[in-house]
Amino acid sequence: MVTMTYGEAAKNALHEEMQRDPTVWALGEDLRRGGVFGQYKGLPELYGPDRISDAPISEAAIMGVAVGAALSGTRPVVEMRFADFALCAVDELVNQAAKARYMFGGQAKVPIVVREPMGMWRSSAAQHSQSLESWYTHIPGLVVVCPSSPVDNYGLLKSAIRCDDPVVYMEHKNLWALEGEVDNNDPLPLGRCRFLRKGEDITLVSWSATVHEAMAAAETLTGEGASVEVIDLRTLWPWDKERVFDSVKKTGRLIVAHESVQAGGFGAEIAATVSDVLFGDLKAPVKRLGAPRVPIAYAPPLEDTVRVTAVMIAECARALMKE
């Protein structure tokens, strides 16, 4: 059992995977300085510039080169710096990485991990704060992972690196310094949710930083006598339908909470699927809590107007539990 931060967990995972497999290498801007969030700190000293490689400010090339290098027997870990900048490389991710295996009839796979630091990070404003995970869940061929804790960032990054599919791996910028215990040395399975709290009255499903809001809400609600189940989805595609279904069958109530814009967010997919499959088990309508459909503002009070908070989740849960 070791305590480490979310950022250190990822660094340790990458280090161990690079030791284990000489075909793993990382590429991105400013990696030789340890990465812009320090998430590669120490690795440049351990690995030469070939394996922890700097890159020009050419996001499309970084992604496209990774695709070509993955088709040629290596396992690149792509650093996009901010999820927002990965939009400069959407063709390479969506049209190339996600499609190559299929359109070439299975002749090759594209084992890349695309790290896209996401989410609100105080006053980063409209172009450095977005949570676009739902976009990628829409693309056949991609796996989408959004870890919320050090232990998951460690275990899921390991699995992502070992996975032969292109994995969009979205770490939340506000979680880099979060400390937690990492109690295993093994990869954690992709496509599996984590039950953070067991309960009987209501299910809260969330991922990434909003998981911590859901946990805080659960704490409050428990103090009020409710029994709350909290699920950290961890992998958005494929999402762990069976376990979410099991939970909602038991509680009959579901709130899906996420930081990204509610309209067209992944919560809509979960809500629609659960409403469809478990209609007869529901005691209340499935609720989504996401951001309003406005860009993210700079001034903290304005920025806060789009946040999904523990208070909002608790309030929504109370209303549902009256039904």
């Binding site: 070509g68 040629s72 996975c163």
Partner: protein, 338 residues
């Protein structure tokens, strides 16, 4: 060293066996595409096909200087490149017709033909996307310490997309074993490339990024063969990336369905006289090769590709469960696609 490409081919020191092989291969590409055009007319090819008729010299001049384990990433106009890299025309034609036994099991069609077993990393439906893939393959080759070369062939329209700058810069920064060949046919779809391109053109742009760049007549296979041979040797020896701009002309429409209304008929007719196959045949005849030997190349190629087309026509559709295969391991849609 490279012979003066302006000298008439007959005046150069010709390797006749090699050039006969080039002539034969160009005819195989021509005959493959004539058969594909027939398939299009007969409505057996449903998606778009982009013929490279008139541009065969580039496919042959470039690919005959690549080893099987060298990498090639191609464009929408990739049939010739793919054949020249060594792919099986039977599997290619089946792919064009969307049939079982196609290179991509009928899931890609003309624009996604690939044959990884001969280092052909795919045609690409996105203009210029192959430039990054080539840089990536070259990067992997360098990381692995191999002596292979990665090559991409793209059109003159591709130089106005970002990957031309980003990919060439990347290849130069990392001194990668990459050859970039621009198939400069003067048009991007229905638009004259010159009308939409500032500056002095592909080679000048490549040179500005630091790549040794060369202009070659892409319809003169002899000249292109020599230029590519020298470039590949330099790259393989660790000399970093190089660029070749190969001038050519597409003798058909942009796609099989394109009526080609934007080019004067006289220009197209004049271009037929510069057809790379005719030019090489002339050079070979001047060097004393008998006409019947050259005619046999044409005849054999047509016979081969007619049989290839017949085979594809008779091939079954892929089984429907193929539509769900080869997507991803984690979240495999064969278990749950919704």
């Amino acid at each position: 060293m490279t012979a003066d490409p302006r000298a008439p081919a007959a005046a150069r020191n010709l390797d006749l066996d090699r050039l006969l092989a080039h002539h034969k291969l160009m005819w195989r590409i021509r005959a493959f595409e004539e058969a594909a055009l027939r398939a299009n007319t007969e409505k057996l090819v449903l998606g778009a096909i982009h013929p490279s008729i008139g541009q065969e010299g580039i496919a042959v001049g470039v690919c005959s200087n690549l080893r099987t384990d060298d990498i090639l990433a191609s464009t929408h106009r990739g049939h010739g490149h793919t054949l020249a890299k060594g792919a099986n025309p039977t599997a290619m034609m089946r792919e064009l017709l969307g049939r079982e036994g196609g290179t991509s099991h009928g899931k890609g069609g003309s624009m996604h033909i690939a044959d990884f077993s001969v280092g052909m990393l795919g045609a690409n439906g996105v203009v210029a996307a192959n430039i990054h893939i080539t840089a990536g393959a070259a990067h992997a080759i360098k990381l692995r310490g191999e002596d292979r070369v990665a090559c991409s062939i793209f059109g003159d329209g591709a130089i106005n997309r970002g990957p031309f700058l980003e990919g060439l810069n990347w290849a130069k920064v990392f001194e990668l074993p990459a050859l970039f060949v621009c198939e400069d046919n003067g048009y991007a779809s229905t638009t004259r490339t010159a009308d939409m391109t500032a500056g002095k053109g592909p080679a000048a742009r490549a040179e500005a990024i630091g790549l040794p760049a060369m202009e070659v007549d892409g319809n003169d296979v002899v000249a292109l063969d020599e230029a590519v041979r020298d470039a590949v040797a330099a790259i393989r020896a660790g000399g970093g990336p190089r660029f070749i701009n190969a001038k050519t002309y597409r003798l058909t429409g942009h796609t099989a369905a394109d009526p080609d209304g934007y080019r004067a008929r006289d220009d197209v007719a004049a271009a037929w006289k510069r057809c790379p196959i005719t030019r090489l045949a002339q050079a070979l005849a001047d060097a004393g090769v008998r006409g019947d030997q050259l005619a046999a190349h044409e005849r054999d190629a047509i016979e081969e590709m007619d049989a290839v087309y017949d085979d594809a026509k008779a091939a079954p559709w892929p089984p429907l469960d193929r539509a769900f295969a080869d997507v991803q391991d984690i979240g495999d849609p064969r278990k749950d696609a919704y």
